[in-house]
C-alpha cells in the first residue's frame, strides 16, 4: 500500500512549519512520528496534498522540570517517556502508560504530541493526559495558547487545534510515583485497546479515564464521584459505563464494551490501590 501523492515540506523551524500551514490551510497535515498518520495515508483514508514534516524540530523533544509541573516537548517520543528517569520519578503514570503504547518499534517513532493531536479515542496517551488534567500548548500565526486536556478532544480524530496551529508542549502535574494502573484489553499484544481503563492518584484523589468508550477519551466521572463519597472499589466500578457511548465494530458490541469498562476499571483501581 502506497500513499496518494503529496508535496513534502520539511520544516526547519516552528516558524517555518506554521508558515507552511498558513499557506496551505486545510490541505496540509503535520507529520510527526507518523505512527497514526502514515497508516491512514497508506489506506488512502487520509489524502493530504501537502505533508509538513515536523520530525527535524529536535527543539521540541524534551522533558523538563518546570517547578510545579513537568513540561514535555510535543515531539518527545513514547520511548523517551517510558525510559525517562525524571518522568518515572515525577509523573510515573505517564511513563507507565507510554510503555503500553503499541510495540517497541512504534514507541521509537511515535510522539506524545502526535498522539494527542491525532485525537483517536482508542489511543492510550490521550486518556492519560485527560486523567492528569494536562495543559496542551499550541502555537499558531498569532501566538501561543494553553488548552486544558478536558477541552482539547472534540470528537473522533478531532481536536480544538486550528489547521494553522502546532502543538508544541504538554504540561503535566507532578504526581510522583503515586498509585496508578492501566488496564488495556486487546486481542494481540500490540493492538489498539478494545477498551482501556486508567486509574491514577492525583492530588490525593482518584482519577479514572477510559479508552475507546466514545468518540473522545473520557473521564469516568461517576466512578470518581462514587470513590470520593466513600464507595468501595467494587461499587464504584459498577458505574464505569455511565455517560459513555461506546462504538460497535468487529471487535466488540457496545454492550460488551460497557462490561469491559466495569471489569477493567475495577481491576485498575484494585491494582493501583494495592
Amino acid at each position: 500500500m502506497i500513499p496518494a501523492q503529496f508535496e513534502y515540506v520539511r520544516a526547519g523551524s516552528v516558524e517555518e512549519l506554521i508558515g507552511a500551514l498558513t499557506e496551505h490551510g486545510d490541505e496540509a497535515k503535520i507529520l510527526a512520528g507518523g505512527m497514526s498518520l502514515l497508516p491512514l495515508m497508506k489506506l488512502r483514508l487520509a489524502t493530504p496534498s501537502v505533508l509538513v514534516d515536523a520530525g527535524r524540530l529536535s527543539d521540541l523533544s524534551y522533558i523538563r522540570d518546570a517547578g510545579d509541573h513537568l513540561a514535555i516537548g510535543a515531539l518527545t517520543r513514547h520511548y523517551d517517556l517510558e525510559t525517562s528517569e525524571l518522568l518515572q520519578r515525577e509523573c510515573g503514570v505517564l511513563a507507565g502508560v507510554a510503555h503500553e503504547v503499541g510495540d517497541n518499534e512504534v514507541r521509537h517513532r511515535g510522539t506524545l504530541g502526535g498522539s494527542a493531536a491525532h485525537g483517536d479515542p482508542a489511543s492510550d496517551l490521550p486518556a492519560a493526559l485527560l486523567a492528569l488534567d494536562a495543559t496542551l500548548v499550541a502555537q499558531g500565526p498569532s501566538g501561543t495558547r494553553e488548552i486544558p486536556a478536558g477541552d482539547f478532544f472534540q470528537g473522533f480524530l478531532e481536536t480544538t487545534l486550528a489547521p494553522d496551529e502546532l502543538l508544541t508542549e504538554i504540561r503535566v502535574p507532578k504526581t510522583g510515583t503515586d498509585g496508578f494502573a492501566y488496564q488495556k484489553f486487546n486481542r494481540r499484544a500490540q493492538d489498539w485497546a478494545i477498551v482501556g481503563a486508567l486509574a491514577a492518584q492525583v492530588d490525593g484523589g482518584w482519577r479514572v479515564s477510559l479508552v475507546n468508550m466514545g468518540s473522545v477519551p473520557l473521564r469516568a466521572t461517576a466512578v470518581e464521584g462514587a470513590l470520593a463519597s466513600g464507595a468501595s472499589v467494587a461499587e464504584a466500578a459498577e458505574r464505569a459505563a455511565e455517560g459513555t457511548d461506546p462504538p460497535r465494530d468487529l471487535n466488540a458490541t457496545p454492550e460488551f464494551r460497557e462490561h469491559l469498562a466495569r471489569v477493567l476499571v475495577r481491576r485498575a483501581l484494585e491494582a493501583a490501590r494495592s
Binding site: 501523492q5 513534502y8 520539511r10 497508516p39 495515508m41 497508506k42 510495540d103 518499534e105 521509537h108
Partner: protein, 155 residues
C-alpha cells in the same frame, strides 16, 4: 526528490517520490531485499530495520524521514564473513522455520539487547510483541535471543 542515507555503512542516494516508503527505498532502490514486507500495516514487524541504531518498521516510514540518517538492515549485520552474535544464536537455537519473519526478528533483537543487555524471558517476549511468526516458532526465537544475551557478545 533526492534522498541520501547511509545504509549498512555505504551512502545510498536516489531520486524517489516523496511518498516512497523506506522499505521500498531499501528493497527497490538499494536492492537490499533481506528486509521483507509482511502485513504492510505495521503489525507484523517483518520490515524492521535499525534507524540510527533503533528498531523501526520500515513499511510505516517515508524514505524522506530517513534522509541524512543511518539505516542498518539484515545485510549489514555480519562482519568479515562472521555472523552477528544474534544471527549466530538464531542459527544455533533454530530460531526460524520458514524464515519470512526472521530478518525483522533479528533486527528487533539486536536493538532489544542494546537497550537491555540482560533481559528476562518475559522482557524478550514483551520486547518482540510487535513481531508475528506465522509458523508460531516463538519458543525458539525467544531462546535464541536469550542465548545471544548469555553469549555476552552483543552489547
Amino acid at each position: 526528490m533526492r534522498i541520501s542515507m547511509t545504509v549498512n555503512d555505504a551512502v545510498q542516494t536516489y531520486d524517489v517520490e516523496p511518498r516512497t516508503l523506506l522499505v521500498f527505498y531499501l528493497r527497490e532502490s538499494c536492492g537490499l531485499t533481506g528486509t521483507k514486507i509482511g502485513c504492510d500495516t505495521s503489525s507484523c514487524g517483518a520490515c524492521t530495520v535499525l534507524l540510527d541504531g533503533e528498531s523501526v518498521k520500515s513499511c510505516t516510514m517515508l524514505a524522506a524521514q530517513a534522509d541524512g540518517r543511518s539505516i542498518t538492515t539484515i545485510e549489514g549485520l555480519a562482519r568479515d564473513g562472521e555472523l552477528h552474535p544474534v544471527q549466530q544464536a538464531f542459527h544455533e537455537h533454530h530460531g526460524l522455520q520458514c524464515g519470512f519473519c526472521t530478518a525483522g526478528m533479528v533486527m528487533a533483537a539486536v536493538c532489544l539487547l542494546q537497550e537491555n543487555p540482560e533481559p528476562t524471558e518475559q522482557d524478550v517476549r514483551l520486547g518482540l510483541e510487535g513481531h508475528l511468526c506465522r509458523c508460531t516458532g516463538y519458543h525458539n526465537i525467544v531462546q535464541a535471543v536469550l542465548g545471544a544475551a548469555r553469549s555476552g557478545a552483543v552489547a
